[in-house]
Each structure stands twice: as structure tokens, then as C-alpha cells.
């Protein structure tokens, strides 16, 4: 389980509060979606959980260990994170990048097992055909998949992703979410993912955490949060939610039209 306790963080020397006393506890083996409007603090919360950012106060516990105090190597074997920024200065091929995912386990000296894992992850994201291409020769979506493969190759219990569907077309967005779903169901991984699209969250997540202005305003099973009432709390908008094939579907593109009527 991963637990954030009373996280508070602000930018610009305390003038902009982005995390306001946030406490959440996320259960093992679940896919948890983080949703909320722009600037709600989703990415900041994810970064703090992944020790990429030192919060002003509060702490993050991975089972019993404090992510900021524990040895970096040990945390890296249990928690992997993928942020939005896909720029790399180094000139790497796809397979080079995915091999970096094994660094916490092998410190750069890859064993036969490491190579196997790398190959599996390449296959899983469908990037094996591009393994020897340089990252700067790929489209945004292909690069994104290569990064997802790297994070999977880290084989950590906890996988944190910040908008991994950016740049992905429908086919690959769906495939990526299914991949994360399988990682949770079959391998018992705990996946925490910042999502832009509430319907994707509703379709693939067990638990959804909705944030607004630095606070957690909704937390619970997908069905409960993706409801007219839940979405109003998170986005402060009246979004009609229908049920299609047993899943809640929010018609968020219809908001403007509804206002005009």
C-alpha cells in the first residue's frame, strides 16, 4: 500500500498552494486513476509520491518505508514513475531506453534474465519492430510507448504514470490501459495513473481520486466518482453521465451545448 500523509506543497515561495494537506491511501493490486481540472495538483501529488519532489511538509509511505528517507536503490526496486516530459538529451535507441528500466536491479550489468524482461516489455507495448530506432526518429506516440516499456521493465510493485496516454491514438491508448490493467490483475502491481479523460478512468480504474485546488474532493470506486454528483465536486461542472454497457460514460463534450440550451 502507498500512503500520502498530510502532504502540503506550494510553488513560488509559498504564494501558490498546489497541495493542501492531502492524505490518501491507495490499496495494493488496484489501478487508481487521478483526475481533476488543470492545476488541481495531480502531477504534483504523483511527483511527491514518487520522491521526485520534496513536499513542504508531510510524508509518503511505501508500506512502512518513507520514500524520501529510504535508500534510493531500494525505492527504485519497488516504485517506478513516468512523467510527462519525453525529451532526452542522450541519443538512445528504444532497446537502450528499455534496458535502463533494469538499472535498479543490475546497476547497468544486465544478466540474461534482464534481457528477457526487456524483450517481454518491448513485445508488450508492441515496440519490438522499432527496437533499434533512435528515440528522435520516432513519433510522439511511439516514444511514449517506449517509455512505458521502460517503466514496466523496472518490474516494480508500484507503477506511477503521469498522463501516459498523451500523444497516443485510440488504438494505443486502449492497449496501454489494458496493459496497465493486466499488470494489476495478473501480476498484482499497484498502478496509479493521472488521466485526462474521465471515461478512460471509468473504464479501466478500480478506484478514482478526484482533486480540485490542491485537495482530494472525491475518492472511491470508479462508479461512485464518475457520476453527475462526483464530477460536479471535482470539476465544478454539470456533466451528464449515462450508463452504457454497464459503465458510466460522462458526456463532457456536451457541456457547452447544455449551457446554450
Amino acid at each position: 500500500m502507498i500512503r500520502a500523509q498530510a502532504l502540503t506543497h506550494s510553488y513560488d515561495k509559498g504564494t501558490t498552494l498546489v497541495l493542501d494537506d492531502v492524505s490518501v491511501e491507495l490499496q495494493r493490486g488496484c489501478v487508481t486513476g487521478l483526475i481533476g481540472p488543470n492545476g488541481a495538483g495531480k502531477s504534483t501529488l504523483l511527483s511527491a509520491m514518487a520522491r521526485l519532489l520534496v513536499p513542504d511538509s508531510g510524508q509518503v509511505l511505501l508500506d512502512d518505508i518513507d520514500v524520501l528517507r529510504a535508500p534510493a536503490k531500494e525505492v527504485a526496486r519497488r516504485l517506478a514513475v513516468l512523467r510527462q516530459d519525453a525529451r532526452v538529451t542522450a541519443r538512445l535507441t528504444v532497446v537502450d531506453l528499455v534496458r535502463f528500466g533494469r538499472f535498479p536491479h543490475s546497476q547497468g550489468r544486465l544478466t540474461a534474465h534482464d534481457h528477457e524482461v526487456v524483450q517481454q516489455c518491448l513485445d508488450q507495448v508492441g515496440m519490438d519492430a522499432f527496437r533499434d530506432r533512435y528515440l528522435d526518429e520516432l513519433s510522439g506516440g511511439q516514444r511514449q510507448r517506449a517509455f512505458v516499456a521502460m517503466v514496466l521493465a523496472q518490474e516494480t510493485e508500484f507503477v506511477l504514470l503521469d498522463e501516459p496516454l498523451n500523444n497516443l491514438d485510440m488504438e494505443h491508448a486502449g492497449a496501454t490501459m489494458q496493459l496497465l490493467r493486466r499488470a494489476a490483475d495478473e501480476l498484482g502491481r499497484t498502478v496509479i495513473v493521472v488521466l485526462h479523460d474521465v471515461n478512460v478512468a471509468a473504464a479501466f480504474c478500480d478506484v478514482i481520486v478526484g482533486m480540485r485546488q490542491g485537495c482530494v474532493v472525491a475518492e472511491g470506486p470508479a462508479r461512485q466518482v464518475i457520476s453527475a454528483e462526483g464530477l460536479r465536486r471535482v470539476f465544478a461542472l454539470d456533466i451528464p453521465v449515462h450508463e452504457i454497457d454497464g459503465r458510466p460514460v460522462a458526456l463532457h463534450w456536451a457541456i457547452g451545448a447544455a449551457d446554450q440550451v
Partner: protein, 347 residues
């Protein structure tokens, strides 16, 4: 201790290539062959250049010529390795291919510290110290100031490359001006001492200083070697390195410390050469297309040696010493720097 680290490292990489090969696709295997061949060619060229430098057109007393040329060659090799390796790792740590210690005004800082030392202690005290002790004193001071400077720079402007370039150039100018200001306040005796220390050229090399610099360079490289694998990860950026369990701050601090020592070494031997490192490091990255710093560092050291030995050879025999090597290198390197800047702007 460091020797055992080195041998362990090489033994491991030797083992790792065996099981690794089946996992390489033909394309990757071809790329690795190209890297290996390039490195071997570079080794051959370096050996040929060094031999040519020693024996070309020797007239008169061979013992004298070998002694003189041997010392010159020693200095060229030490500086080539120090500048090549330090610039390469500095580029990685700064996350940019345009920034090198020279561009960031580091050589100028060294000259400034030298001037301040002469100014405060006076030539008399310095002469009591001896060349090697002076070098060590300078190196320690440079390392201390350099670390302060880099830490401040990377914290304040961690994002904007062009701000960093600008700051570096302004700092370089500032330190040079301060040095020339302080040197005007010196007594003529002190001034001469300073000139002798600052603008030691490749043609006159103090043997003791050369040996000290060689030892420092070798030790620095041994300290750096085990950090190079982690530097591969640092090259992915701060967040990814953290995610992969590499303590970014710790590795960067250590690498920068080694860089300051290496820069002190090369500057002590031949004086400031602003664009040399930029030229060598980028050339090495182009010639040796890999992200592995163990290979890149070897490549950069070889390219550094080759560039300096060949350059000095041409200056000696082609230009008849009419133009100093540092001028040629700054001309070529400066143009290359402009090309890189224009390219970066287009991106």
C-alpha cells in the same frame, strides 16, 4: 583500492558482453562493431601521431630532442585526456551539449585564482613553494570555488540553456577582467611570475609539474570510472535518474569535483583554451555513437590526445610556430561553437 575497482569494472564488462550478444539484433551488433573499430582506429592514429611527433625531422642531438619532445608530448597527452574526459562528463551533468567547463568560464576562474594568489602571497612566497605545491594549492582552491559556482548556477538556472551559456560567457569575461585588473596592481616581479605560471605553453614544460599533473589526471580518471555507469542514467534527466534509483545530487557533485580537478590540471599545464573541450567532446560523441559513458570517455580521451598532438604537430612543422596552438584551437572551436548554437536555436 581504485585499481581494484578498475579491474573489477573491466572484468565485469568483459563478462557482460558474452551473454549480452544473443540479445543484440543484427543492427545493434553492427553499431557496436562500428564503435569498436572506431576506437581501434583512434588508438592507432594516436600512436602514429605520437610517434611522428617524437621522431619527425629530428636534427642534431637525439637525446636532447627526445627529452624536450617527450616532455611536450607528455603535456599534450595529459591535457588531451583531462580536457576530453572532463568536458564529456560535464556535458552530461549539465544536460547540454553546448556547455563545457571552458565555455562556463572555468579556465578564466583558474587564471583569476592564480592572480589572486600571486597578489596576496607575492612572488617571493610563491617561489618558496615550488611549482608542484603551487599547482596543488591552485587545484584545491579552484575545486572549492568551482563547486560553489556550479552548485549555484545549476540551482538558479537549471532550465534555460541559453541563460547558462550567457552566464558562462559573462563570468569568463568577468574573471578575465578581474585578473587583468589585479595583474596591473602587481609589482613587476610578481607580474613576471604570474605570466610564467599562467601562460606556460606546450613548448616549455616543467617535468615535475608534468608528473604531478599526470598523477592527478590518472587518479581523477580512476575515481570517475565507477561513476560512469550511473552517468549513463543521469543523461536521461534528473527525474528519470531518481526514478531509477540513482542519487542525482550525489553523483553530480562527485563528477563536478573531478571535473574541477581535471580543468585545474590542464590549465596549469597549458593555460586556458576556452573551446578545446567543446570541440573534443562533441567530436567524440559524433565519432563514437553510443550512450555508454565508459566507451564515450575512452573515445573523448583518444580524440583529445589526437587533436592536440596533431594540432601541435601542424603548428610546429606546418606553420613554423608562427601561430600558437591555443589560437588555432580557439578559432576552430569558436566557429564550431557558433554552428552548435545556431543548430540549437533552430531546434
Amino acid at each position: 583500492m581504485s585499481a581494484s575497482v578498475l579491474s573489477r569494472g573491466t572484468a565485469d564488462s568483459g563478462e557482460a558482453t558474452e551473454p549480452a550478444t544473443p540479445h543484440r539484433s543484427p543492427v545493434e551488433a553492427r553499431r557496436w562493431r562500428r564503435v569498436t573499430v572506431t576506437l581501434l582506429v583512434l588508438v592507432g592514429l594516436c600512436a602514429a601521431a605520437c610517434a611522428a611527433y617524437l621522431v619527425f625531422n629530428v636534427r642534431g642531438n637525439w637525446t636532447y630532442a627526445m627529452n624536450l619532445r617527450g616532455r611536450q608530448l607528455g603535456a599534450l597527452v595529459v591535457v588531451g585526456v583531462a580536457v576530453g574526459v572532463s568536458s564529456l562528463v560535464f556535458q552530461t551533468v549539465s544536460g547540454s551539449r553546448i556547455l563545457t567547463p571552458g565555455v562556463m568560464g572555468f579556465d578564466a576562474l583558474y587564471a583569476f585564482i592564480q592572480t589572486v594568489i600571486v597578489f596576496t602571497l607575492g612572488a617571493g612566497t610563491l617561489q618558496l613553494l615550488g611549482v608542484v605545491e603551487q599547482f596543488l594549492l591552485n587545484a584545491v582552491l579552484l575545486a572549492a570555488f568551482g563547486m560553489l559556482l556550479f552548485r549555484w548556477l545549476f540551482r538558479a538556472h537549471s532550465r534555460n540553456l541559453f541563460v547558462l551559456v550567457l552566464v558562462g560567457i559573462v563570468l569568463g569575461g568577468l574573471f578575465s577582467s578581474l585578473s587583468s585588473f589585479a595583474s596591473r596592481l602587481l609589482s613587476p616581479d610578481d607580474y613576471l611570475t604570474l605570466q610564467a605560471v599562467l601562460f606556460a605553453s606546450f613548448t616549455t614544460v616543467d617535468l615535475d609539474l608534468l608528473l604531478a599533473c599526470a598523477v592527478v589526471t590518472v587518479v581523477s580518471c580512476l575515481v570517475l570510472w565507477p561513476l560512469l555507469r550511473r552517468l549513463d542514467v543521469i543523461d536521461l534527466g534528473r527525474d528519470r535518474a531518481t526514478s531509477l534509483g540513482v542519487d542525482h545530487h550525489k553523483v553530480v557533485t562527485r563528477v563536478l569535483l573531478v571535473v574541477t580537478v581535471l580543468v585545474a590540471t590542464s590549465t596549469a599545464l597549458v593555460g586556458p583554451m576556452v573551446f578545446l573541450g567543446l570541440l573534443i567532446a562533441n567530436l567524440a560523441r559524433q565519432l563514437v555513437p553510443t550512450h555508454e559513458h565508459r566507451v564515450l570517455a575512452v573515445g573523448a580521451a583518444l580524440v583529445g590526445v589526437l587533436a592536440l598532438v596533431l594540432g601541435q604537430f601542424v603548428v610546429l612543422h606546418g606553420l613554423g610556430l608562427s601561430v600558437p596552438l591555443s589560437v588555432v584551437i580557439n578559432l576552430v572551436g569558436g566557429l564550431y561553437f557558433l554552428v552548435l548554437l545556431v543548430k540549437a536555436v533552430r531546434l
